[in-house]
Symmetry: C2
Subunit: 135 residues, 2 copies
DNA sequence: TGCGGAAGTTACTTTGAGGGAACCGGGCCA
DNA sequence: TGGCCCGGTTCCCTCAAAGTAACTTCCGCA
């Protein structure tokens, strides 16, 4: 069995697929934090339909609060998944659209959606079986 | 623009890729909750190296607490990603291994890792640029 | 006889993601 | 002139995820 974790310069390190990852420089964390957020993937999927304005997104996803909508959009913008463009109309309107990076990420999200729908039944079955055993 | 969200029987619903998802029956949520957990994907990757015992996993991932190791393994077992086998040796030893479902999920995780490493630089650059603008 | 490993459990605490509600300035419109 | 829409911001609160630490049972070993 080959070792996949250890310490370098006192920092915890793990080796996956031949690559070294540490906590302070972990590419996967950066991405998982976006996938894991409650609204982030949904936002990406919404914007996959085309560029949209703030209020359009609100109408599209009525469950999200204004606060979380703003925050999610900022987070995605910060990491380069979406672009924010202000048009100097009266009143000013703001448009959000996927960047090329966002488009690329979208294909990953789509695979996630595909896998999930394909294996959802198996997961639910496993869960039910497990819970039945644990009575 | 086509509508991708609305209500059915009073429950919030969203349509993605031609499929209807609701909060109470959302395949993607079940999977994202596993991807999003702090240790879950790492555990899957660790077990990709082969079946392992509890203490081997502890040694492999020294940063995880015993409590979180147990909990993560239970969560993954519950959803059918891993199997837990007790061998009646003295003292009893317990082995964890990926199920076929877990193997299938692993390929998804690997794609995530690949995408992340490939686009990590772009993400960090976007972040730096954003933060510089927001001073 | 008491130490340590294996595989946990239990109780307590901390952290931060997310939710709710109110507020804001500018313009438009009736 | 008093609302309403647009695109937010601010404050406060809650709850669940994660961390810390101590305890456990069974065994072998020296």
């Amino acid at each position: 069995m080959n070792k996949i974790a250890g310490k370098i310069d006192g920092e915890q390190v793990i080796v996956v697929m031949g690559q070294v990852f540490s906590r302070s420089n972990c590419p996967v964390r950066d991405v998982i934090d976006n996938i894991g957020g409650k609204w982030n993937t949904l936002m990406i999927l919404a914007l996959a339909e085309g560029p949209m304005r703030f209020s359009a997104l609100r109408r599209l996803i009525p469950d999200i609060s204004q606060r979380m909508l703003t925050q999610t959009l900022r987070d995605l913008q910060r990491d380069g998944y979406i672009d924010r463009t202000v048009f100097p109309t009266q009143p000013p309107s703001v448009e959000y659209r996927l960047t090329p990076l966002g488009q690329s990420f979208l294909s990953l999200v789509k695979q996630l959606v595909d896998w999930s729908t394909e294996h959802h039944a198996a997961i639910r079955a496993a869960r039910t079986a497990y819970d039945a055993r644990e009575l």
